[in-house]
């Protein structure tokens, strides 16, 4: 027999109260960690999106549809293809304020091909590109050759496997890390490969490129603006000079909607987490208050035996800390399992870039959630206990 045993038995022999209190702790820890993970994932997703856009201005074929389709590629991962005449590239290069440019080709694979859904294929020039290439270098050494592709993180295909695109077997030579954007479902190829694929798509009559040859077309031109030049001025210049041919989109404006939506979603998350917390603290406080009130004569008996006030408060503190610890750990595990497993679903539902925090940050947030929850319960319980212990032992025993 020991004081430790008394604590453990007090917990085990009151299963209903223990379960209720543990459940509140579970809820609190779950809410804090889920809230932290969700908000951080949204912020990371947004930063990732900004980094992946990589340029100040994106020039696309003229027409309201093109901007919509471009956003779909980045935000929804919906494969698109659109093309404009390649001659625009040299015209753009001569615009004042343009420091550098990168061209890209977009092609959507057909459904009956490799995969259960169309896949976005992005063609780029590994030597001169500054948008995609640096990011690919981060994750893949070397360059993709003819009919070789690099797969985004959300494709369930491994290095060494092949994907058939428009009848052509493309070897997967590398995989990329997660970006939390629609680009995770794309594959990347060099110019030679993408032109080969566009030709193949023409042969099955599924090409958007029309009668032109792939050598004469591009999908988008990414522009870096020189320091000291106003990006909006450069973009307006392009729009005015080449009004009927192309449209220049400022990348900042592409994501401004997203920033606003992210703000709104974050506010909702904070409100929910706060609401859950307040609810749990109230319930926890009530349960502790009632349960400790009921144990008044038991505490008086313990004090008559020789337990000091401090010893009793510390007993209750330890008891409630153990109960809250059990609940918090379960809440944290549940939160992690759900957010990680359902991460893709959450991303699809919110329609916002979503990138889960790295391992270290996840561990830090988990400890934070644990720490706060494990302290709240015992502090609440101790306050109730101190109140109860104020009465003279003799009077308390008579109840």
């Amino acid at each position: 027999m020991s004081v430790k045993k008394l604590i453990i038995k007090n917990i085990i022999k009151r299963p209903v109260k223990t379960t209720l209190l543990s459940s509140m702790a579970l809820l609190m820890a779950f809410a804090i960690l889920a809230g932290a993970n969700l908000s951080k994932s949204l912020i990371r997703g947004l930063n990732s999106m900004e980094a992946r856009l990589g340029a100040d201005i994106i020039v696309i074929p003229e027409g309201a549809q093109s901007e919509e389709e471009l956003k779909n590629i980045y935000f929804k991962g919906t494969p698109e293809n659109f093309y404009m005449d390649k001659s625009i590239v040299s015209d753009l290069a001569s615009i004042e304020g343009v420091e550098d440019y990168s061209i890209q080709y977009f092609l959507a694979s057909s459904v009956s091909d490799c995969c259960s859904a169309p896949v976005q294929i992005v063609g780029f020039d590994p030597e001169n590109d500054f948008v995609v290439a640096p990011w690919i270098k981060d994750n893949f050494k070397g360059q993709p050759g003819k009919d070789e592709i690099i797969a985004g993180s959300s494709l369930s295909v491994q290095t060494g496997e092949s994907l058939k695109i428009y009848g052509i077997d493309c070897l997967v030579v590398g995989k990329l890390g997660s970006t939390g954007t629609g680009l995770d479902t794309a594959v990347y190829a060099n110019e030679e490969t993408i032109k080969h694929l566009i030709e193949a798509s023409k042969e099955v009559g599924l090409s958007m490129v029309g009668e032109k040859s792939p050598d004469e077309t591009v999908s988008a031109v990414y522009i870096k603006v020189k320091k000291g030049y106003d990006i909006s001025v450069v973009s307006s210049t392009i729009n005015i000079n080449f009004k009927d041919r192309v449209e220049a989109v400022r990348t900042k404006s592409m994501i401004s909607d997203t920033v606003k939506r992210l703000d709104d979603v974050s506010k909702i998350i904070y409100a929910l987490v706060t609401g859950i917390w307040v609810f749990s603290i109230i319930i926890m406080g009530l349960v502790f208050s009632v349960s400790i009130g009921e144990r008044k004569s038991e505490f008086a008996l313990l004090r008559a035996m020789g337990f000091s006030k401090i010893k009793i408060v510390s007993l209750i503190f330890t008891e409630s800390m153990i109960i809250c610890l059990i609940g918090s750990v379960l809440g944290i595990v549940l939160s992690l399992v759900i957010i990680i497993s359902f991460g893709n679903m959450i991303e699809g539902y919110l329609g916002l870039p979503f990138l889960l925090p790295n391992f270290l940050n996840t561990v830090l947030y988990s400890f934070f959630a644990l720490f706060i929850t494990v302290l709240t319960g015992p502090i609440t319980a101790s306050i109730s206990t101190m109140g109860v212990c104020r009465e003279d032992i003799g009077n308390a025993l008579r109840r």
Binding site: S116, T185, V337, N344, M345
Partner: protein, 137 residues
């Protein structure tokens, strides 16, 4: 041991099994038919549905029958069955290629989370039933 203590875990097993089956039939389906054809994930969904129905049947039997040995046997059986269910989406039966498809975003995580919960509850059930036996002796 009173009825509730002995059967709390069994009741939980039944509830989780029901949630699994109802979920896979409704909110957490895999992908639908594609151009009239069933994709691989369709068979994963059917397999999980079948397993779920078996779970419901077994957990009901576990609650109805009185013998402790039988209850313990059923709880023990739940553990490898839950592990099997956990492995169905993506490991034993493949799913669609893209992580953005419903079978990956919705069906797979739902089955994973529930099978883990079921495995943990069954383990707890086995432990509680074993301890209960010790008490009696």
């Amino acid at each position: 041991m009173n009825y509730f203590k002995k059967n709390a875990a069994g009741i939980a097993e039944l509830l989780i099994s029901i949630i699994l089956v109802v979920g896979v039939f409704t909110l957490f389906k895999a992908c639908g038919l594609h151009e009239g054809k069933a994709m691989a994930c369709h068979w994963a969904e059917n397999t999980v549905k079948a397993l779920g129905i078996v779970f419901i049947f077994l957990s009901a039997i576990r609650l109805i029958l009185k013998e402790d040995g039988v209850k313990k046997g059923i709880a023990l059986a739940f553990v490898p069955l839950s592990v099997l269910t956990f492995l169905i989406p993506g490991k034993i039966i493949s799913l669609c290629m893209m992580d953005t498809m419903r079978c990956q975003t919705s069906f797979k995580p739902f089955v994973i989370v529930l099978s883990v919960i079921l495995a943990l509850i069954s383990l707890a059930d086995v432990v509680i039933l074993s301890l209960g036996k010790k008490d009696k002796n």
